[in-house]
């Protein structure tokens, strides 16, 4: 299974923010869409960073004025991205090892989706459930 087939199960384009927007706006978006991270994109829809709940909590712990600061100020700039054709298992390994919870997916330089650790877990669960279901059906059929 590759990332493209995971993105196919998502309802729409990823929620993004511009680096010049405020952290307050970022929090509002995270809350409204019940998600854990936003990809920061430039005018060409190319990812330039990512801002997660963690980034905000970390900054808030040392700066109570964080809400008024810009996303670009506190976001992670060194973003690891994936391609639609990347396989999910390798991506899952990387996310686990590098403790990344959100992986922006880029096609021809443009952001096309975002994969969260939750998406990966769900995809794995569905894969195993499906295999168990299939095997059970066949074993039951053998017994008849």
């Amino acid at each position: 299974m590759n990332i493209a087939s995971l993105l196919a199960t998502k309802s729409g384009p990823p929620i993004t923010i511009r680096p010049e927007q405020s952290v307050r706006e970022a929090i509002a978006l995270l809350s409204r869409h019940t998600i854990g991270a936003l990809v920061a994109v430039n005018a060409a829809n190319t990812p330039v960073g990512i801002i997660s709940e963690r980034d905000i909590v970390r900054e808030a712990a040392r700066d109570e004025q964080v809400f008024a600061r810009s996303v670009g100020d506190i976001m992670t700039r060194d973003v690891i991205t994936g391609l639609p054709q990347d396989d999910l298992l390798s991506v899952a390994n990387t996310m686990t090892e590098k403790r990344i919870r959100h992986l922006p997916v880029v096609d021809k330089g443009k952001l096309v989706g975002i994969v969260s650790l939750g998406d990966v877990v769900k995809a794995q669960r569905d894969k195993y459930l499906g295999e168990v279901e299939t095997l059970e059906t066949q074993i039951l059929a053998d017994k008849q």
């Binding site: 309802s11 396989d87 569905d126 459930l129 295999e131 059906t137």
Partner: protein, 466 residues
């Protein structure tokens, strides 16, 4: 609306398609004891089961045993099958909206993706899915021509469809004669001149999509020796490093099996099945008559990315494979349904947990849902459609609880039947299908085959006295 889904006003659900996702959706709905529900299932062909009948390989009958579960679902008195009734033609979305509270699209992924290389449309180049549909007796594909007088064939891809096609091409007439392969395909394959079948993977042995049981089966064919080039069975450095870092038992086993094949000596069987890795077709070369004579391949190498995956990168090394028949199996996608929002990028109906979405507002379209491959894309095995359908049902029941269903003017079972009978007087019921099924099985019995399929719609209708 408070009475909806109670015995006085059963929830009326239309399911479009009759493959695994369609039947699992019906089964989940029937199991809800708190729900009074009536399900009408619409199928374009007179015969049900989608890819279980038309996709699963004829030499893999055991996989088809899931049909027993579908029969049980169909036996429920609240279930009605309308075969040979095409959505968008015999009944439209507008018709369904007048007769059902909820509509579920479970139409699968019906077309293949293209390779996007020069020469792709030369004579002798085919989508693997068409070959599969042809040998499985799908009525739409019975007039396809595959020139099996050619001696060398390439199957592009190493997924399960590619494996099926390669295996069927390598089977002996005796092996095939014991299956439910279509008679026409059986005759053509008996005359087959095919000597060499190449399967081409763009990445290495460790990344190949086929499963270990599938690859083992290829090594046990009665009429074909399996060949793996020793240099391609060796793991390259990035693959070795990746496997060492996150050891996966199935992948290790797969590599082991393939290395074993690389050590094998040909035993002189009439055919050879050659698995190639780290190659991508870049061009199909034809002669003056427009017939393929060769395939140009580029050798790939794998490069590790920041995301931890290994991507194939073309090198400057090319080779020509002297093949004259090509089957491509590089992915599948769904076909848009008339009037239903579609996501072209991923080839699925635009949806959120099975709720069809309006492409402009991204809000759910009331009363419309998707399940199976048309919802999530072509991934997983038959059983994967069960949890998939369950997710769609959760959305359907949440919406029902919110009163967000269609308000059909004619929500009765009889009204729907009258409409369908008027639009398609020859519709095929489940009892009709069981008659066809019995005839097929009876015809097969005398030949020692699971069944001899009807492959033409006219034959099926005639057998039912229509």
């Amino acid at each position: 609306m408070g009475l909806l889904a109670t015995p006085v006003a059963p929830l009326r659900v239309a399911i479009i398609g009759s493959g695994p996702a369609a039947f699992y959706t019906a089964e989940h709905l029937q199991r809800r004891e708190d729900l009074a529900v009536e399900i009408d299932m619409f199928e374009r062909l007179p015969t049900p089961f989608g890819l279980v009948r038309g996709g699963v390989a004829p030499d893999h009958q055991k996989i088809k045993s899931v049909v027993a579960a579908f029969d049980k679902t169909a036996a429920d008195p609240r279930f009605q099958f309308y075969g040979y009734v095409e959505f968008g033609k015999d009944v439209t979305l507008a018709d369904l909206r007048e007769h059902y509270h909820q509509i579920v699209y479970a139409t699968g992924a019906q077309t293949d993706r293209r390779m996007g290389i020069p020469g792709e449309d030369l004579r002798g180049s085919h989508p693997a899915t068409e070959f599969v549909a042809w040998y499985n007796g799908h009525p739409d594909y019975q007039d396809c021509q595959f020139d099996l007088r050619q001696e060398r064939v390439a199957v592009v891809g190493v997924g399960n469809v590619a494996v099926d096609v390669a295996r069927i091409l390598c089977r002996t007439p005796e092996e095939l004669a014991a299956t439910d392969i279509s008679d026409r395909a059986l005759d053509a394959l008996k005359q087959s001149q095919v000597r060499e079948v190449y399967m081409l993977g763009r990445r290495g042995p460790a990344q190949a999509a086929f499963t270990n049981p599938e690859i083992k089966e290829l090594g046990e064919l009665a009429g074909a020796d399996i060949v793996v080039l020793p240099e391609e069975a060796q793991l390259d450095e990035p693959s070795r490093a990746a496997l060492e870092k996150s050891p996966d038992r199935a992948t290790q086993k797969k590599v082991e099996i393939l290395r074993g094949y690389a050590r094998r000596r040909p035993s002189g069987k009439p055919r050879r099945l050659i698995l190639r890795f780290l190659v991508s077709p870049v061009e199909l070369i034809g002669n003056a008559a427009g017939q393929i004579t060769a395939m140009r391949l580029v050798k790939n190498e794998l490069a590790a990315t920041a995301a931890g995956t290994l991507r194939p990168k073309p090198t400057n090394t090319f080779e020509e494979l002297p093949v004259s028949l090509v089957f491509r199996s590089v992915g599948y996608k769904g076909v848009p349904l008339p009037g239903v929002p579609f996501n072209d990028d991923w080839g699925v109906i635009l949806n959120d947990k099975g709720r069809v979405l309006d492409p402009d507002t991204r809000r759910p379209v009331v009363g419309e849902y998707a399940a199976g491959w048309i919802k999530r894309g072509p991934t997983g095995v038959i059983g994967t459609n069960k949890p998939d359908a369950a997710e769609t049902i959760v959305s359907m029941l949440e919406d029902l609880a919110q009163g967000a269903t269609l308000r059909p003017a004619h929500p009765g079972r009889e009204a729907a039947e009258v409409l369908i009978r008027q639009r398609q007087p020859n519709y095929v019921s489940y009892a009709d299908w069981r008659r066809l099924d019995e005839i097929e099985v009876t015809r097969g019995r005398s030949q020692g085959r699971p069944r001899v399929k009807f492959v033409r719609v006219e034959e099926m209708l005639a057998a039912l006295g229509r």
